[in-house]
């Protein structure tokens, strides 16, 4: 575990030319960075590529890191923005994949027990907006405080709180609707 000051010293040495030391930072932050990318792009291979691109971008912008925020927050914001622009660039492709997942889930519904709410919530998650979905998922990971999560997502803390509450409300409403539909078809 390295302290913030040690981390700054490490960054200074990387900027000075000791590039191999960047691997220490990558190792330390790769898991959460990958998790953020995965929550946005929803595909493991692509999330890996996106997270790697985020780290590479951060390396090239390292001189611009002004140390006002924590390095981790700054890095994760780069990864998050990289994932968002990647998803926008590949929107059409994602939509078709997403549709196929929903279709699969619908088929799976008939095979599993009707009361399995997990499948229904999973389906409902697909209907949330990207911003709401990522906000609620990162909120539940609880790795970082609400303030830091808001900073990573480049949002106001109150906006994030509203998003998280609204997303859960929508999921509950959607679950209720699906369960009612299921009850009618019985």
């Amino acid at each position: 575990m390295i302290t913030t000051q040690e981390e700054y010293n490490l960054i200074d040495r990387i900027i000075a030319g000791e590039e191999a030391l960047y691997a220490t930072l990558v190792d330390k932050y790769k898991n959460y960075a990958y998790t953020i990318a995965l929550k946005v792009v929803e595909n493991r291979a692509e999330a890996e590529e996106v997270a790697q691109d985020g780290f590479i971008k951060a390396f090239h912008y390292l001189k611009k890191f002004n140390r006002e925020a924590k390095f981790s927050t700054w890095l994760y914001r780069i990864v998050f923005n990289t994932a968002i622009s990647y998803k926008r660039k590949n929107k059409q492709q994602f939509q078709s994949i997403e549709n196929s997942i929903v279709e699969y889930a619908e088929r799976a519904d008939n095979e599993i027990e009707k009361e399995d709410k997990r499948v229904f919530i999973n389906q409902a998650m697909k209907k949330l907006s990207e911003a709401d979905r990522v906000a609620v998922q990162l909120y539940y990971i609880k790795e970082y405080s609400l303030e830091e999560t808001a900073e990573i997502l480049n949002q106001n803390i109150n906006t994030l709180k509203v998003r998280v509450h609204r997303a859960r409300q929508r999921l509950a409403d959607e679950l209720k609707r699906i369960l009612q539909e299921e009850a009618l078809t019985l």
Binding site: Y22, A23, V26, Y32, A51, I56, Y140
Partner: protein
Amino acid sequence: MENITDDQLLNFLDDKGSEAERDGVRKLISTNAEVKKRVEELHAVHSFLQNQNKIEQPSKIFTEKVMSGLHTRQAFTFLSPRNGLLLLAGLSVASGLAVMMVSTGSFDQWHTFFNIGQIPIKNNLLKLPTSIPFDLKLTVKIFVLINVVIGFVLLDRTILRPFFQRRAERFS
């Protein structure tokens, strides 16, 4: 549900609020069937999200891939292959039109001289020409040549290189 909002119930599930508030919610849940049902719905979502969200782990070669890519993945990241292809198509159309117009002699009459001898500038160091010839046909040819060079660079950086890079990564 007149007495309680979803926000209050969600705060209750998040373990937020004072003990008195939480007791009030508990009491309401035990006495009001509608509130109880809503809490169950919200709780199903709450526990689903709690179970789903864990820190994921990338592949074991993640760090090596980042380190090996530090100096290779920089060029033209602002242009996606699709945008590169569109830009390339635009350049090809513009160059094609220019070549067509040159070959049909559209610019043959477009040549003139810019007289700079009349401009009152004191210059004892250099002997400047009194006029500069301007030929639009030559300018268009230079434009086409520049377009061809840009086209090749675009083709390489935004389409071919990313394509082969991804293919190599897939097979490695």
